[in-house]
Amino acid sequence: MKILVAYKRVVDYNVRIQVRPDGSGVVTEGVKLSANPFDDIALEEALRLRDKGLATEVIVATIGPADCQAHLRNGLAMGANRAIHVVSDEAVQPLTAARVLLKLVEKEQPGIVILGKQAIDDDASQTGQMLATLWGRPQATFASKVEINGETARVTREVDAGLEVLDVDLPAVITTDLRLNEPRFIKLPDIMKAKSKPMETIAIADLGVPAAALLTTTHYAPPAKRSKGVMVKDVAELVAALKSKGLA
């Protein structure tokens, strides 16, 4: 069984993003870029399933501009067998991303597609669910545990009420939550090895993905600032302040 991992490049999670003063976007020039943290978890899970002998091949795929190759090499250095780069100079929205991934699914016939539960840039949390729907296959989102039993997977999901356990027939789409695993670190020799691993490049226009009428972003703004607070010196002062606001 092959596993396809959707592996997006985003602004690093530690960067405090700045909105351009004219409201046209956020500053991304010179900002550190990394793998979406949930996608690193997705790749790690795929590699663990392969290590257990439950998968034969792990493929990382991304949709992004030409310079995304370094990002994919990172995924290869982590342990993926090969990479697919769908080249798109424009950022794609989740519905388009799901349609692109469906084309890759049709071509590669994976047993499992693993994605992060959301990308930390657009915070949409849609692509995995949309892919499962377009593919007509089960989804198990926000996964914190995955067990493969032959033709089915038992997935524990983090839901608001607690933990939900589902059985899904394979092939299926899984999206990862933070507690699924701890992604491995990349070792130097693996970076060297990754340079010789196969990377396929496909122009997005060549995939025949139907155009979607999408959302238009008309303005970016910084969030409303909270007014500056005060430091209190002891518990008595804190309790007095809360009582004056009717909160204690």
Binding site: V26, D121, T133, V168, G229
Partner: protein, 312 residues
């Protein structure tokens, strides 16, 4: 000319207050009508609750044994059928709505707006990106159904007093059998629900152990508050995951949020920015949590918490 369909969220036969928050958002769209759709194995009691929400025109129900548990790929085709004739389909941006609504959008072939925090007009919305560090204004195509999840922390509940009619509808879509519910492991708690509580007390890594976390529970009980936690406290196993507050946990807007032993990473702050009053108690005076706290107190939480509990 907006006809809005709100997908009801419910658990154990009870309507979740997130549904009422969606109705508030629907009202902001200036809808001509707001209908609520309840999918369940036995929807009657839930539908009766939904019918009381002020401003709801009709409650539609689809009773089907397959709807006993909210499996997205089972519910979505039924919703997509009912959605014909509606201009908007809304669901809360809870794990239920996030799991389900993109499937509905994909079936309708439209983009989805996630986490609506404000409504500009029927097709223009504000939503947060980058863990709430930027707010964007997005326009959905005018000629398509708007499918959107509603950021529940941005919208208060709508009061009761409505008396909508309840109508069963046929949800005769072909339903898949490839997904099977096994169980829900639920933490038992008598405390207020984290997402709807007026007061929340949260603990972080500084508590040091799950035993030490008991002082947070004790303070919360004294205050009649719900208990929350940072990712660090959840990862360390001090509390179950459903208590996590932040970008990847719950996004909440209580009147009072007390952060104890929480440094205040970006990912945590995004979950509490809409709280009325934020109190931070931390021994590190430079912790980022103090940048957004209304009241900050620097000191040892193991001394401060018992003292605070006594003074309340």
């Amino acid at each position: 000319m907006s006809k809005i369909l709100v997908i009801a969220e419910h658990l154990n036969g009870k309507l979740n207050s997130a549904t009422s928050r969606c109705v508030t958002c629907a009202n902001a769209i200036k809808a001509d009508s707001i209908d609520v759709l309840v999918l369940a194995d036995a929807p009657e009691a839930i539908a009766a609750e939904a019918a009381q929400i002020a401003g709801v025109s009709k409650v539609l129900t689809i009773a089907n044994a397959a709807n006993a548990h909210a499996l997205a790929q089972v519910l979505a085709p039924q919703i997509a059928k009912v959605a014909a004739g509606y201009t908007h389909v809304l669901a809360p941006s809870t794990t239920f709505g996030k799991d389900l609504l993109p499937c509905v959008a994909a079936l309708l072939g439209v983009a989805q707006v996630s986490d609506v925090m404000a409504v500009e007009d029927s097709h223009t919305f504000k939503r947060p990106i980058y863990a709430g560090n930027a707010i964007i204004t997005v326009k959905a195509p005018a000629d398509q159904t708007v499918v959107a999840t509603v950021r529940t922390a941005s919208w208060p509940t709508t009061g009761n007093g409505g008396s909508a009619s309840v109508e069963p509808v046929a949800g005769d879509a072909a339903l898949p059998t490839h997904t099977r519910f096994v169980e829900l492991q639920q933490g038992k708690s008598d405390r207020p629900d984290l997402q709807s509580a007026r007061k929340v007390v949260s603990g972080g890594r500084a508590l040091g152990s799950s035993d030490a976390f008991s002082i947070i529970y004790s303070l919360a009980d004294r205050m009649g508050a719900a208990v929350g936690a940072s990712r660090a406290a959840v990862d360390a196993g001090y509390v179950p995951n459903e208590l996590q507050v932040g970008q990847t946990g719950k996004i909440i807007s209580p009147d009072l949020y007390v952060a104890i032993g929480i440094s205040g990473a970006i990912q945590h702050l995004t979950g509490i920015k809409d709280a009325g009053t934020i109190v931070a108690i931390n021994k590190d005076g430079d912790a980022p949590i103090f940048e957004i706290a209304d009241y900050g107190l620097v000191g040892d939480l193991f001394q401060i918490i018992p003292e605070l509990e006594k003074s309340l």
